[in-house]
């Protein structure tokens, strides 16, 4: 374990640690472009040059491994001159694009120029032009002029996805990033290159010109596309989610997320169910709707029993599921429980999981193992179900099954739908309760590895929609059987105290 001195402070690190990581441990930020902790260190940008005593030249901190007794200076005069020179060379052909570049506001070049350079341009000829707005893949746009050829994107495709679509083509002044003719950057993780690109050379088509980054507020959240639960920064502006950006979690998703999950933020605002209806009255507001529904349920199904079925949603938070179980058992008197959710899909060896529901483990924790909707359809066809509470309209049916299901629900004494999205089933329901998305509530999801991950509230719920937990709390009150808890904290206290559930 070598011990070295950086800027006068000592630190002991494992063998093989590059100087840049040792400096970061001490709180010294060494500027860098091509280095990334998850990728190899080619030391081609030369921005991380530091002065190591007794070395002939300045050494790149990302490549130089710590040696015992090494003395490193990261802010000496030579280092400052080197940084200015490196930035000058990078900026010499860089287009004057800040006003139209999406990266402005989160651009390493901008930040480093102000911090380490701030010298005017010495260029007296014209800049080298390259192809701009080049659609290098279905989701990614490449701008050759902005590219500083750090090769992070090339190494990502080589080392992380293993698909090697990108390479540096041409040479000298004409070098750009390109693909083999006929190929494009179309792996399932292509948009991660836009996260790691330090400048605006690789940008996503989806976010292009959508919103300026300094206007965005960032909230920690989880992607709800599959059971991996990749951590994300949910970035929103004026009540609308603008994008997901992966959040570092060394145990779940490291620095990455898949393209499909990244684009799943659109589901937060698309096709929302904002109807709060009990019977044919949709203008009652929550307190009266809760009371009206309490009366309706009592009327139709009395104290519950064997014919009352509850379908739990593996897209809901654990707290919502807990409140749901309590409501179903004590207020509705349900005896049959099923689990709904999206059908399985593709999986791969990296982050994409076949189970496209974020919280199946949560359902198992709260309810135990539950039969799926195929069993529900059988029970309904056999006439064993006379009332149904559907939590979520995502059901793993094929078209034939769905048609049969739609027929059967119309014969029920009571059919209630509590859903985030609009769906044809809502028209047949006796009561419709609008649920809030995970961006509008605080709660936890349990991923397939067993990690309990928390989402935080970023937006106010749309219209009358409320979180699942709040819906059940209100309905329990409306049926004169209020719960002991009134919010997520109360649910957690019960959930974790009872212990046995998990």
């Amino acid at each position: 374990m070598p011990t070295l001195t950086i800027n006068g402070k000592e630190v002991t690190v494992p063998r093989g640690t590059p100087v840049i990581r040792a400096a970061a441990m001490l709180g010294f930020n060494i500027p860098h472009f091509c280095y990334h902790p998850a990728l190899s260190a080619p030391a081609n940008c030369r921005m991380c040059l530091v002065e190591i005593e007794r070395a002939r030249k300045l050494e790149p901190a990302c490549y130089a491994k710590c040696g015992d007794g090494m003395v490193v200076h990261t802010e000496s005069e030579k280092v400052k001159v080197a940084r200015r020179a490196v930035l000058e060379f990078i900026l010499v052909n860089h287009p004057v694009d800040c006003p139209i570049c999406d990266q402005a506001g989160e651009c390493k070049l901008q930040d480093y120029y102000m911090a380490y350079d701030a010298e005017p341009s010495r260029l007296r000829t014209s800049k080298v032009g390259k192809s701009k707005v080049f659609p290098i893949g279905p989701h990614v746009v490449y701008d050759g002029e902005r590219c500083i050829l750090c090769t992070r994107c090339v190494r990502f495709c080589d080392q992380i996805t293993g698909t090697s679509e990108l390479a540096v083509v041409q040479r000298g002044d004409d070098s750009t990033i390109g693909t083999f003719p006929g190929r494009e950057l179309d792996n399932a993780y292509s948009m991660n290159v836009t996260d790691i690109c330090p400048v605006g050379a690789l940008t996503t088509r989806d976010f292009r010109f959508k919103c300026r980054v300094w206007l965005l507020s960032s909230t920690d959240s989880i992607c709800t596309g599959c059971s991996r639960g990749c951590n994300v920064h949910l970035e929103h502006f004026q009540g609308e989610v603008q994008r997901y950006r992966p959040r570092f979690n060394p145990e779940v998703n490291e620095y990455w997320m898949c393209d499909e999950g990244r684009l799943s933020y659109k589901q937060i605002h698309a096709r929302r169910n904002v109807t709060l209806r009990v019977g044919d009255k949709s203008d009652l507001g929550w307190p009266r709707s809760a009371r009206t529904f309490g009366a309706l349920a009592k009327d139709r199904i009395g104290a519950g029993g064997d014919g009352v079925a509850f379908v739990a949603s593996p897209l809901a938070t654990t707290e919502g599921l807990y409140a749901g179980r309590k409501y179903a058992e004590t207020v509705l008197g349900a005896k049959r429980f099923y689990v709904g959710g999206r059908a399985d899909g593709d999986a791969d060896a990296f982050l994409i999981r076949a189970d496209k529901n974020p919280n199946r483990a949560g359902v198992t924790a709260v309810f135990g193992e539950l039969p799926g909707v195929d069993a529900l359809l059988d029970d309904m066809a056999a006439g064993r179900v006379r009332a149904l509470w559907l939590m979520g309209t995502e059901l793993a049916f094929d078209d034939a099954q769905r048609a049969r299901f739609t027929e059967l629900v119309q014969k029920l004494d009571l059919f209630v739908v509590q859903s985030l999205h609009d769906d044809a089933l809502l028209a047949h329901a006796d009561a419709v309760f609008p649920a809030a998305s995970h961006a509008e509530l605080e709660g936890t999801y349990i991923n397939e590895q067993g990690h309990v991950q928390q989402v935080y509230k970023a937006l106010e719920p749309e219209g009358p929609s409320r979180s699942d937990a709040e819906i059940f709390i209100r309905l329990a009150k409306g049926a004169d059987q209020p719960f002991a808890f009134t919010d997520v904290d109360g649910i957690r206290a019960e959930l974790y105290d009872s212990g046995a559930e998990a």
Partner: protein, 406 residues
């Protein structure tokens, strides 16, 4: 409701209980004499003021709160609207405070131009105060002459800065524009008119029987009381205390020019009026000296982290573009810390207490408004006064709504 409370308090106040017929009269906020919008709840015994309780805040616009969400440069238009009759002095006071936190050294020409424009603004402030004061007492002609002089100054200010009143002339590290090429000629043509106006106002008001009767001996305050109440500027100097920040802690070019600080004796309205008249003359003197000794050079400090680059550099080089972009969108990065910086504004010590958290936006921006403390002391100045004395007292304090309420 305010009135009812005052009555209840009165009934318990032993001093007041002796009077049989005390009347609570409301003066303002909509009142021709309450310029700047101030409400005075007067407790009167006949014509005598027993208690005067001013209610301010009608022009409170949330200056401090707004500055917390603006960048350092975006604060300048807000400072214009503090003491809006001498906006340049507010701009300069704020710029000076932030420059001290950045530890910037300004070019010599910048300091001289700031001194010149600051004194021009001060003349404006004093003419307004003198003119309005005379107007309230019925000397309307004096007011019109003072306003005409002020208009000449505004024309000059417009030539230099582009606007008459809300100019945002200062920048952190310098100024927006340099003086115009013909500034000295223009000043040479205005200066005699300013002296003339001063003389006319003097002839109309200073030795006028009615004016003197109303101003002399009214609204008097002793030096100790004035200091205890936090008075500064002409109001404090009229009470005999020679405190002027331009002399005691010189900044800009004030250390390099000769000028006197007029000091009164009695601290009454008449002295305050005379002090302001004398200060106009001293300001003209300062401007003349500065123009004579004006150095050449830049009017903006040469630091890319503070000064915006020239437009041709911004549009034609990426370095200029990044520089401009970061300063505008993130703001000038001022190191974390706090500072209290005071300059001599038209009404007295204009202090800025600024707390920075190291980013491009202030964490806390407090303005110490000079006339706030004078209004706090108006009750003392009006002890035993008549209703008619309220008018000149309120005028000579020169309470500016924008400054006191922010």
């Amino acid at each position: 409701m305010n009135q009812q409370r005052s009555l209840a308090a009165l009934e318990q106040d032993p001093a007041v209980g002796q009077h049989e017929d005390v009347m609570v009269l409301n003066m303002g906020p909509s009142h021709p004499a309450m310029h700047g919008t101030v409400r005075m709840v007067l407790t009167l015994d006949g014509e005598t003021v027993v208690k005067c309780d001013p209610e301010i805040g009608y022009l409170h616009r949330g200056f401090a709160k707004q500055c917390e969400v603006a960048t350092w440069t975006q604060v300048f238009p807000y400072t214009d609207r503090l003491n809006y009759v001498s906006p340049i002095l507010n701009n300069l006071g704020y710029a000076h405070a932030v420059e001290q936190m950045l530890e910037l050294e300004l070019p010599a020409r910048c300091n001289y131009v700031r001194t010149v424009m600051g004194e021009v603004s001060r003349i404006c402030d004093h003419f307004t105060a003198i003119g309005a004061g005379a107007l309230e007492l019925g000397a309307m002609s004096a007011f019109l002459y003072a306003i005409e002089a002020r208009d000449l100054i505004w024309d000059l200010v417009e030539e230099v800065t582009g606007a008459r009143l809300t100019i945002s002339y200062a920048r952190i590290g310098g100024l927006k524009y340099d003086l115009t090429d013909d500034f000295e000629e223009r000043w040479a043509s205005i200066e005699p008119r300013l002296y003339e106006t001063l003389k006319i106002v003097d002839q109309l008001a200073t030795k006028n029987r009615v004016f003197m009767d109303r101003m002399e001996g009214t609204g008097a305050i002793s030096a100790e009381d004035a200091i205890s109440y936090g008075f500064t500027g002409p109001c404090l100097r009229s009470a005999g205390v020679a405190y002027d920040i331009r002399k005691d802690a010189p900044y800009f070019a004030y250390g390099e020019v000769d000028f006197e600080v007029p000091v009164g004796t009695k601290g009454d309205n008449y002295d305050r009026y005379l002090v302001r008249m004398a200060e106009v003359e001293q300001s003209i003197r300062i401007i003349r000296q500065c123009l004579r000794n004006m150095p050449d050079g830049a009017i903006m400090v040469d630091d890319p982290h503070v000064a915006l680059p020239e437009k041709d550099v911004v549009y034609n080089s990426i370095e200029g573009m990044i520089n401009h972009f970061k300063i505008i969108f993130e703001g000038i990065q001022v190191p974390a810390g706090e500072i209290y910086s005071a300059t001599e504004a038209g009404n007295g010590e204009l202090g800025f207490y600024i707390v920075s958290n190291g980013t491009g936006q202030p964490w806390r921006l407090r303005v110490r408004p000079p006339c706030f403390y004078m209004m706090g002391g108006i009750d003392r100045m009006l002890e035993g006064a008549m209703i008619a004395d309220i008018i000149p007292t309120f005028d000579t304090i020169n309470m500016i709504g924008g400054e006191i309420d922010r």
